[in-house]
């Protein structure tokens, strides 16, 4: 249930970014976050945490959109590049170990949708 902790950090950052918007918006509609596939984050839990933690706050009623990005890698030996699923870093082309991670560790807030 680390999603609750992650959501607290998320809302700290959302609050700071929201307060920076000029002119001040009339409300928050949605937050879009990008989560790399390597993170062990359960979307339902994160959304549930968002609903619970925004209750009776100025962000109540806004919603969280989660974009998952796939785990992608590139083989240092044969230059194969593609999606790695499940997260086993063995090249499907040449069998070499140590496929380098290209994406999958992202964890950031992409956009805020606000009422203006």
């Amino acid at each position: 249930m680390h999603e609750f902790s992650i959501c607290r950090f998320l809302l700290d950052a959302v609050g700071e970014e929201y307060d920076r918007i000029e002119p001040p918006p009339r409300g928050l509609e949605a937050v879009r976050v990008v989560v790399g596939g390597l993170h062990q984050i359960v979307p339902d839990y994160l959304e549930g945490a968002y609903t619970a933690l925004t209750k009776e706050t100025r962000f109540e009623g806004s919603h969280l959109d989660i974009d998952f990005t796939p785990i992608e890698g590139r083989c240092w030996a044969c230059d194969w590049a593609g999606v790695i699923e499940p997260p086993i870093f063995v090249c499907p082309e040449c069998g070499e170990l140590g496929v380098e991670l290209q994406s999958g560790k992202e964890l950031y807030i992409e956009t805020l949708e606000v009422k203006t």
């Binding site: 680390h2 970014e17 918007i21 062990q40 499940p86 964890l107």
Partner: protein, 217 residues
């Protein structure tokens, strides 16, 4: 009223990262190595630390931050060795966060320390997600847990700078395929150093202590 989309592109964990950075600055100022031990409940993290204490050398000052959901049992075990220890009770949380660790370090006398071990809350999933300002995460997996765990919990082994296979003395008694486990670890993190340890008998601890000293340099 219209809806406007504002581009943010901001680290979601920034609030945690701020504390982790403060910890890193403090550790750098005091010239201390901090290692974050992560593994299941019962994987042998406390026993590993008890065993390691005899192998780190007399001149090495080290302390332990013990993360647990409840009780001070682990901290008491470490204290019996004469090692400074601070108990962090997560109060039900499945992991330690950077702020808790920073505050514990601030309350500790750091002047004579070379290494701080953080024994994270027993869990292979959640602690792997959190930067607590450590120099390295160490994945701890016991022989009793099964050889396929690196594939089932890949983020921990991806994030770790070393893996320690504990309870090696159980190997004759449980169906654990050691070469397969090493292969699984490599499939997740190809160049991860792996140490095989039987902490109760001191097996493999000198190699691990040597690796730890190399990280301090």
């Amino acid at each position: 009223m219209t809806t406007t989309e504002i581009k943010v592109y901001r680290d979601l964990m920034g609030a945690n990262e701020k504390w982790a950075s403060r910890t890193r600055a403090l550790l750098m100022e005091k010239d201390i190595l901090m290692l974050n031990l992560i593994g299941s409940p019962g994987s042998g993290k406390t026993t590993l630390l008890e065993g390691l204490s005899a192998y780190l050398g007399d001149g090495t000052g080290f302390a332990v931050l013990e993360g647990d959901v409840a009780t001070t049992r682990d901290a008491e075990r470490i204290q019996e060795l004469g090692v400074p220890v601070s108990q962090l009770l997560s109060g039900g949380s499945c992991h330690l966060e950077a702020k808790m660790v920073f505050q514990a370090l601030e309350d500790m006398d750091l002047d004579d320390l070379d290494i701080v071990f953080v024994e994270n809350v027993g869990n292979m999933v959640c602690p792997a997600e959190f930067d607590i300002g450590e120099h390295a995460k160490i994945a701890v997996l016991s022989i009793a847990e099964g050889d396929d765990k690196p594939l089932k919990y890949p983020l921990l082994f991806q994030e770790a700078e070393a893996a320690v296979l504990t309870k090696l003395d159980l190997l004759p008694h449980v169906p654990f395929d050691l070469p397969a486990c090493r292969r699984y670890i490599q499939e997740v993190h190809a160049r991860l150093p792996v140490f095989e340890v039987g902490a109760l008998r001191g097996e493999g601890l000198s190699d691990l202590a040597w690796w730890i000293h190399e990280q301090s340099v």
